[in-house]
Amino acid sequence: MNSRILSAKNASTFGVVVLFWIPIAFLSLLLVFNTIPYFSFNPHLPFLEERTVLYNKLVWRISFYVHIAAGSFCILTALLQFSSWILKKRKKIHIIAGKIYVFVVLLIGAPSGFYMTFFAEGGVGERICFMLMAIFWFYSTLCGFKAAAYEKNFLSHKYWMMRSYSMALTAVTFRIYHIIFFRMGLAHFDNYSISLWISVFGNALVCEAIIFSQSKQYLKTLNS
């Protein structure tokens, strides 16, 4: 291939990576940083004050703290997983971080989140959306884990984990949409509802589009 075309391709790939990953990494870290005050177990934080009825329930309280702790681990470990440098040069980091991610999502994050969906903010529609998200997050992580641990099908593993990460990333994208729609002057409840649906289905669609563009074996991974 012509060296100019090659370098232009490399530059565009680098640009996309920088434009996509730097904001994602920054906002993910900001989200994790924002969860730190909750670990003071102070019930007078705004989010918890709105949910005093739920906070008085022991199971919900435990689920909440477990979920935010698990979510922080998920977001932090997932950031390492898509680095091709780590995958090629430091495979052990990928494996350890992957095990933490899988353990945290399957055993802690998804079940605690699934329980909390029944009491989530919004109407029935929003709760169903949260439920679908929790179930798909769990299912995609399980499939990704199975593909790597049992079937040794790493292409399928990659795509399922991308789907899983797209669901984990709804925590970040939801807040971005929420702020954007707030700026556009949308009323709180409409804003909340629209941001939620767009973040869940938008992330899933973007993920499928990336997978589709990356692989000709796309349909095979769906059957695995």
């Binding site: 906002l27 900001l30 989200l31 924002n34 969860t35 705004p46 989010f47 709105e50 949910r51 009825v53 739920l54 329930k57 199971v59 399957l106 055993l107 998804a110 079940p111 605690s112 699934f114 329980y115 909390m116 969906t117 029944f118 009491f119 903010e121 919004g122 179930i135 769990f138 399980l142 884990f145 199975k146 641990a149 049992y150 939801f174 807040r175 929420h178 702020i179 729609f181 707030f182 700026r183 002057g185 949308l186 009323a187 709180h188 409840f189 804003n191 941001s195």
Partner: protein, 146 residues
């Protein structure tokens, strides 16, 4: 590995079943959580504006020539939308009767009265609070003059 996966599926199913039963119990008892849908927020702002207008009624009286006094109400950063943040207070003044202030949540006005309190509404987002998304609660703030 198989045991781990079985435990995970079991955990997920139990969370779902327990959540459903818990929610059903709450609905049955009538103790299900009711979230603020954000419909009362403009009312809160309007109440705040009305109380300010009431406090300073004697000052409004001094402007007899102006039939309608419109104030730009501004408060701090916890509004849901820009529309809600702009609150207009109208005070209809007649030579003898001073009516209750009429508060509407529409446009801001350019007419300002020096002696009136100004509540500053800033639709500013504190990005340190990113985990909460956009601001939700409404607070009114007194002006420096007040």
């Amino acid at each position: 590995m198989k045991t781990f996966m079985t435990i995970c599926i079991f955990a997920m199913c139990s969370a779902g079943i327990y959540g459903f039963v818990d929610m059903a119990n709450d609905v049955k008892k009538g103790s299900m959580i009711q979230y603020d849908r954000g419909e009362n927020e403009s009312v809160i702002v309007a109440d705040g504006a009305a109380s300010f207008a009431k406090k300073h009624t004697h000052r409004i009286e001094t402007i007899k020539d102006t039939p309608v006094v419109e104030l730009e109400i501004k408060s701090d950063n916890n509004f849901v939308s820009k529309k809600q943040a702009k609150v207009k207070v109208q005070k209809i003044i007649t030579p003898t009767v001073i009516e209750e202030p009429v508060v509407s949540t529409e446009l801001k006005s350019d007419v300002k009265v020096d002696s009136m309190p100004v509540v500053v509404v800033e639709d500013h987002i504190d990005y340190r609070e990113f985990s909460r998304g956009a601001p939700r609660k409404v607070k009114t703030k007194k002006s420096k003059k007040d």
